[in-house]
């Protein structure tokens, strides 16, 4: 009886372990297909799904996020991919995320990549339709490559012609074969080098000059740096302007006078003209002036006589004293 129980226990363990493995296997497969655990649906509409099948993987930024549930053909140009996405991903995927169809490796299964677009947006909800990016189609890729190949072929043909021409050209080969050419080039380069060194010196000098001016050294610097100078210059210019305005008015006045004078001289009227034109009068005037001079001399004699006269001497002395006092006081004030 004991032996029988032990055989039954062994049998039980055997059968149970087999069943456990079966269930484990089914569970693992189911988990990969998101049959268990909570999921939510997202949709994306493509023009071409390139062989995507239900059960293909969904990746969010490269992380396994779910599987394709089914493909609906909406119309002749739109295929809707219904995706079962892990509920945990709901806290990360935004409405602005972009879905695209990619390949697992170079030759692997198709998959849907969901990538954040970087634009702000609220988190996705169940049944949202994501925007898509046009998938990279291998056919398109090959077509582009074919174009590139064509271009490369043309370029190669042109290059071939160029090379042939160079090969056939005697001038090019003469240049290449000329052994004195390197020597010449070498000396030229040396000369260029000295010239450059000189240019560098020059530039350095200029630089020091400019820095000096900048720092306010020298007269140019002073002129450039001194702000009061500018002010003064401004004032001076203002004054010059005023003066020139005055001169302007003066000139216009003068002009008027001259005009008048000319008019008068033309007409022969007016005192000045008369004066200028009348020679008799001029003689008279000269005479009068002579007389006046004589008169004044006489007056001067009289005045000296008066000064020496006792009646007026005291008065003149007082005057002289007063004058002297004023001339002494004046420097003291200054």
């Amino acid at each position: 009886m004991n032996k029988k129980i032990s055989t039954n226990i062994k049998l039980g363990i055997f059968v149970l372990s087999g069943m456990v493995f079966l269930i484990l296997m089914l569970y693992m497969i189911g988990k990969n297909q998101n049959l268990f655990g909570s999921t939510f649906e997202l949709k994306a509409r493509f023009r071409n799904v390139q062989g995507l099948r239900p059960g293909n993987n969904i990746r969010y930024s490269g992380i396994q996020a779910g599987t394709v549930k089914k493909l609906n053909i909406l119309n002749d140009t739109t295929i809707e991919v219904v995706m079962l996405v892990d509920l945990k991903m709901k806290d990360y995927i935004r409405k602005s995320a972009v879905a695209s169809i990619g390949t697992d490796g170079l030759m692997g299964n198709k998959l849907v990549n969901i990538n954040p677009s970087g634009e702000p947006g609220s988190l996705v909800e169940d049944g949202d339709v994501l925007s898509i990016r046009k998938p990279v189609n291998t056919d398109d890729l090959l077509e582009t490559l074919a174009n590139t190949n064509h271009d490369v072929a043309i370029i190669a043909a042109q290059l071939k012609i160029t090379v042939q021409r160079i090969n056939n050209s005697t001038a090019a080969w003469k240049i290449l074969n000329d052994e004195s050419l390197p020597q010449n080039i070498h000396s030229s380069v040396a000369q260029i080098r000295t010239a450059t060194a000189k240019a560098v010196d020059m530039v350095n000098n200029l630089n020091t000059l400019v820095t000096g001016v900048k720092e306010g050294k020298g007269s140019l610097g002073a002129i450039l740096r001194d702000t009061s100078f500018a002010h003064n210059l401004n004032e001076a210019i203002l004054k010059i302007k005023n003066v020139s305005e005055d001169a302007d008015s003066l000139t216009s006045e003068l002009n008027k006078v001259v005009q008048q004078f000319r008019d008068e001289s033309m007409n022969g009227s007016g005192t000045i003209t008369a004066l200028l034109k009348d020679s008799v009068m001029a003689k008279n005037v000269t005479k009068s002036l002579d007389n006046i001079q004589k008169g004044t001399e006489g007056f001067n004699e009289i005045m000296n006589a008066v000064k020496k006269n006792f009646l007026f001497r005291s008065y003149f002395r007082k005057r002289e004293k007063q004058k002297r006092n004023e001339s002494v006081q004046l420097p003291a004030i200054q």
């Binding site: 029988k4 049998l11 055997f14 296997m25 497969i29 297909q33 030759m107």
Partner: protein, 256 residues
């Protein structure tokens, strides 16, 4: 209509097997049930076969992995080795190879056991003593074989996958976690369920052919050997035929 003797015998035997199968089902549904004997047979057929199946499975996984590696390396898809081995073992090689080993061990033992009972007239003695020999000997064995082979194949698959893991790690380094994930990433229910279901048929075929051959053995001890031998051969062929039918059905149902 006269048929060649061999052809006639073949058709006759096929008919006999069919009749035998029908008898099995009619006896199986009818009480009283030989529960204790059934469990004893389960122990003998299932549990006692585990070391053999396990060893075969382990070696098979290891060898298959090592054999597949060079060609996969050539195509630069060495990383797909676990996926490939996993699908091969779970879908086809596991069930078929283990069923063949099972046929070799259990089919022959049932055939020899029942054959010797037949030739020593123990079965007749049973009938006389009031026990239903068919129910006691055949139904329990066939049913036990049907039930035990799937369990054996499942455990054999597990051991085989572990052997394959070691095989992967002989040349490269793959963590068990990654290996495990890769295997189950590439498996689908459509891989596991049909393979699991067909193992029941394999087990049933082995049990029914072994029992038929034993139950109908004749001509003394020579007949026992012959029935044991033909039990293995016929059940092996039957396993392949069932496998062919199974793959057609799964293909028709769209599981491939």
């Amino acid at each position: 209509m006269v048929l060649p003797a061999k052809t006639a015998r073949f058709f006759q035997e096929t008919g006999d097997v069919a009749k035998f199968t029908g008898r099995f089902f009619s006896q199986w549904f009818r009480p009283r049930y030989e529960v204790t004997e059934f469990f004893r047979q389960c122990f003998v057929i299932g549990y006692k076969s585990l070391p053999l199946i396990g060893l075969t499975g382990f070696i098979m996984g290891l060898v298959l992995t090592m054999q597949l590696r060079p060609s996969l390396v050539e195509y630069g898809v060495e990383s797909q080795l676990p996926a490939m081995v996993g699908i091969a073992i779970v879908r086809e090689i596991g069930p078929v190879i283990m069923a063949l080993i099972f046929a070799g061990k259990i089919g022959s033992s049932i055939g020899a056991e029942l054959g010797s009972m037949k030739v020593t007239e123990q079965i007749d003695a049973m009938e006389v003593s009031g026990t239903n020999p068919f129910k006691y000997l055949v139904v329990t064995r066939v049913f036990a074989a049907t039930m035990m082979l799937p369990v054996l194949v499942l455990l054999g698959d597990a051991i085989s996958l572990y052997g394959s893991y070691l095989g992967v790690n002989i040349r490269g380094i793959t963590s068990f976690r990654l290996y495990w994930a890769q295997i189950f990433d590439n498996l689908a229910f459509s891989d596991v369920i049909p393979a699991f279901i067909k193992t029941f048929f394999f087990g049933f075929a082995v049990g029914i052919i072994g029992s038929y051959k034993g139950f109908h053995s004749s001509k003394g001890t020579e007949g026992v050997g012959r029935s044991a031998n033909s039990a293995v051969v016929v059940s092996s062929i039957l396993i392949f035929i069932i496998d062919l039918i199974a793959v057609q059905i799964t293909d028709l149902l769209g599981f491939n």
